[in-house]
């Protein structure tokens, strides 16, 4: 079953990479807004986005089915329009990983953005730079360590995503069985040597990522 290990490894890396890319894009933007803006509903937004961090992933997965399932609020519209459903595809695994990893990115990035000295931001404004330019050239570079730490954490979290992924993408061997799901499946089927290989692989990768994260930021994690 060497090829199934390779498949799961590749699928896991693909899912985690795409999810992390999305997390970076949305997470930085959302973290900036939460750190710098005041608007009604900010608290609610913060809580909703943090929920996946504290809820069991199966609950998060359940909500995602309610929203994106074939008969879900958004899923139905997509299905009616295109005949495509996210469920039981690797996209579903990406979505699950994205939602579960997002709060980690937001938390670390927001803290990093808030720690940038207000005076430097004001200095940038008085030097004729817009808010966008200031964010790009002053805030993000100075919050860089925190942002990188957030990215690494998100990647590690996405790589280990199990509960929500299982709810949303299922366990389809050769299609949606990421490493955690394959491990669950192998162990359930009594294939201990196969499970061992994957467990060791996943543990090794997690250690590497945490090491990188620690190197980049000792304070945030």
């Amino acid at each position: 079953m060497e090829s199934s290990l390779a498949f799961s490894l590749k699928l896991s890396l693909k899912v985690a990479s795409v999810a992390t890319l999305l997390v970076m894009l949305f997470g930085t933007g959302i973290a900036y807004v939460l750190a710098k803006k005041n608007f009604p509903g900010k608290e609610v937004m913060d809580i909703l986005l943090t929920l996946p961090l504290v809820m069991p992933p199966t609950v998060t997965g359940y909500y995602l089915i309610v929203i994106f399932g074939r008969n879900g609020y958004i899923g139905k519209i997509i299905y009616d329009m295109t005949g495509f459903s996210l469920m039981f595809t690797w996209y579903a695994a990406v979505l699950a990983s994205f939602v579960v990893a997002l709060p980690l990115m937001i938390k670390t990035t927001r803290a990093a953005i808030e720690s940038v000295d207000e005076k430097l931001i004001n200095a940038s404004y008085t030097l004729g730079r817009s808010e966008f330019e200031t964010a790009l050239k002053v805030i993000f570079p100075l919050a860089g360590k925190g942002i990188i730490a957030g990215v690494v954490l998100s990647f590690a979290r996405a790589l280990g995503e199990f509960g929500a992924t299982l709810m949303l993408a299922g366990n389809m061997p050769g299609r949606t069985d990421t490493m955690p799901i394959a491990i669950w499946s192998l162990a359930g089927g009594g294939d201990w040597p196969g499970a061992n290989r994957m467990v060791l692989m996943l543990t090794f990768m997690s250690v590497i990522f945490l090491y990188v994260a620690n190197r980049y930021s000792r304070r945030i994690i």
């Binding site: 000295d117 005076k119 430097l120 004001n122 200095a123 940038s124 404004y125 002053v138 100075l142």
Partner: protein
Amino acid sequence: MVLSVTLKKRVKGFELDVAWSMANELTVLFGYSGAGKSMTLQMIAGLMRPDEGTVRCDDEVYFDNAGKIMVPPRKRPFGYVFQDLALFPHMTVRKNIIYGIKGMKRNERRLLTDKIVERFHLKGLAHKLPSEISGGQKQRVALARALARRPKLLLLDEPFSALDNTVRIEMRSLLKEIRHEFNIPVILVTHDLVEAYTLADRMIVYYGGRVAQSGSRIEVFHDPCSEEVARLVDMRNHFGGLDIIHRQFTKAVPSFSGNVM
């Protein structure tokens, strides 16, 4: 250039209420810390919003609560030097300076930056980070950066307070030179008496959120208009006395010429 401001702002336990104007001169906002000097500067620059008032420079209105005008700081042509300088720690000296220059061709930008770097004696330091240079050098970078975008007015918020005395003296003369070279009006916030005395063309004395006195340096130092101002400018010979014209007991201060006011 004429700058005129009327500013009102209420914050916890403090109320600022000032109105003054200045021309092309070096104006010192002088007073104890907490008198509202820095706040005034921030409102001129647009970093803080007054409750009421106006900020005008020549024909331009930058703030007017009646006309609902609040020009954002980036669109106000004022150079600002912060109390702790606020140099960008991740940019080299040169990048810090070039940061404020916009709307120019690459070549022109480079030439202008070269000129400024040279003028402020920063040539050997251009590729160093702010953390690698001395206090006086940082000071020169901050001034250079604020002037690079050719502002109409330079705002300095106690920029020399953290320096050694010798460097401070050097910076004062540099500031005088720049002011004439660039022909730029300057507002300097300070509570340092010597600094005020050596630099000011004009002094605006703040006391508890109000203007206690405004006038030329000579006027303020030699003819303080009240006991508070006299104390602020370190005049020690104030006496109590009887004001015979108004028939009231008063605290009086002798003017420099020896007459009792």
